[in-house]
Symmetry: C2
Subunit: 322 residues, 2 copies
């Protein structure tokens, strides 16, 4: 495996070449702006690695990779409107920098752009790529709707929460990998295993996100630690705590939910979570999905050495501190 | 040609079979609701007629037809948010009946559904259908952005206005027809002529819309006559009037733009438009595009009798009273 930065740089160069028209400027300026905000570019890298895993050159998977990244950015632009988020990667969101109508419409155009990139693939693969992509795009929307529905519900189960993050986040990682495998003409079984690997790594990744939000080193995290606690967001940490709490701890958590002093709220919530060992409970779930992912990767019928890049990437994602 | 109602009924039956999932209900209930609101179903009918023109059975073009109608409905859901429209076909819009976030997200899902329907076509046609569809979808978004940009501009030219309605409305009619022709394996030249027919009929249709908004028979129109005048919307009628008005008439129109009494505003604006002969000027432009459309239809190298349904449809669209 080349250094991960070699893949990131390749993706960034290709994104810079996407070539949006100049006019109408209110439609395309936001896209030029948003696509250049950066990020880990994890999804397109997965597509390239998925292709290389089966001996295909990464250049032959670049359009599918860009398609996934473009779709991801479209969904972020629309999610930011729905979440009323002012910032994305520490920069103003599209609806903040321009306005909401422009964010809706430029998001829509970016979505079409994802299909245009996909349509560059030859007809041998196009139908399979499109079927997977469509199914995934719908699931991502379903996950986002579930997430919004959860905001006003008090009875969200852990199973429902896992299903929500599976749809909202993880299926796109599975899709990104499988697209590479489709282009590389992998077998049905191998494609399925690779998708499973991606989906389970995605769930583990999202659980780690929940843990990091409260337990990250503030020096390394890059955003406010405890943001989810302040906003009473339902996360696995929160749901596990509610599941394991004593009657007294439940009472205390209920009171903390309406605590106005953010610093006090974070400190005392963390204290209760620590007593309950909520973090350890989440880590156990995360480890479980990580192992499912590795099992799926092992099941792919290909030289084990070929799998090293994906194993390394999985470890890197699990050990991250932000 | 079968009666137009036979086509409409066929489309309605197929739309009823679209089969959206039950959950998440906040995502799919709005789609069941909106897709059943009705309308002329003009676009999918064009796809079926485009296929039949070249001897293909309409059943073989139904998925592309539904794809176009689904895309059209997606764009209406998002446009209604942007226009803050409370009503669509005399029923509450999605963002009014549910909320804005649900309207954004269920619109997004409907957009994917359009691609899923398209992806049902075999790989022989899929790539061509997708290229045309993507190009058209982007143009429709560009047209909507131009329309929004026009709201705050005072220097919109007639050429720009025509370009806006071409993108926002007409290219989708051309696309709908050409999709049918693609499925029927028409020649490149014939596909281009059919697209031109659709695009020019679309422009004529939209100009007629502008005229009807002020000059329709209130008994037959089904919505408030003069709505565009009340809201100072830029239409061809309005732009032609400004182009042809004397200095005094310009002054009067400027004053009428801020008139609060709607009835007075409509009556006096109409009086000035009549003096200017703005309606006749628009009709001349409309006739020009209608003739361009017929010329394009005539250029298609196929038995003239085959073209009768499209000629009839074009006449029907030009003679409508609502």
């Amino acid at each position: 495996m080349q250094e991960i930065s070699a893949y990131t740089n390749y993706i960034e160069r290709e994104i810079a070449r996407l070539d949006f028209p100049l006019k109408p400027s209110n439609l395309y300026d936001p896209l030029r702006y948003f696509m250049q905000l950066g990020g880990k570019r994890m999804r397109p890298i997965l597509t390239l690695l998925g292709a290389e895993l089966f001996g295909e050159q990464k250049e032959n998977a670049i359009n599918a990779a860009l398609s996934v990244e473009t779709f991801h950015n479209f969904s972020l632009i629309h999610d930011d409107i729905m979440d009323e988020a002012p910032l994305r990667r520490n920069q103003a969101t599209v609806h903040e920098k321009w306005n909401q109508n422009i964010a809706i419409l430029s998001g829509d155009v970016l979505f079409v752009k994802a299909f245009q990139l996909l349509a560059k693939h030859d007809s041998k693969h196009l139908s399979h790529l499109l079927d997977l992509f469509n199914k995934t795009a719908i699931e991502v929307c379903e996950g986002q709707q579930m997430d919004m529905d959860f905001e006003t519900r008090t009875d969200v189960s852990i199973a429902e929460y896992i299903e929500m993050i599976r749809l909202k986040t993880s299926v796109l990682l599975g899709c990104a990998l499988e697209m590479g495998a489709i282009i590389a003409n992998a077998t049905e079984n191998d494609k399925r295993h690779l998708y499973e690997f991606g989906q389970n790594i995605g769930i583990a990744f999202q659980i780690q996100d929940d843990i990091l939000d409260l337990y990250a080193d503030p020096e390394k995290f890059g955003k406010q630690v405890g943001g989810d606690v302040i906003s009473n967001k339902k996360t696995l940490l929160n749901l596990k705590a509610l599941e394991l709490a004593s009657t007294q701890q439940l009472e205390d958590l209920k009171e903390l939910a309406i605590e106005k002093d953010h610093s006090k709220k974070i400190i005392e919530t963390t204290q209760i979570y620590n007593e309950i060992k909520a973090k350890e409970a989440c880590e156990a779930v995360m480890q479980d999905y990580y192992e499912k992912a590795i099992t799926a990767l092992n099941a792919i019928e290909i030289d084990q050495n070929q799998k090293i890049p994906l194993q390394q990437l999985a470890q890197y994602l699990m050990q991250r501190e932000n």
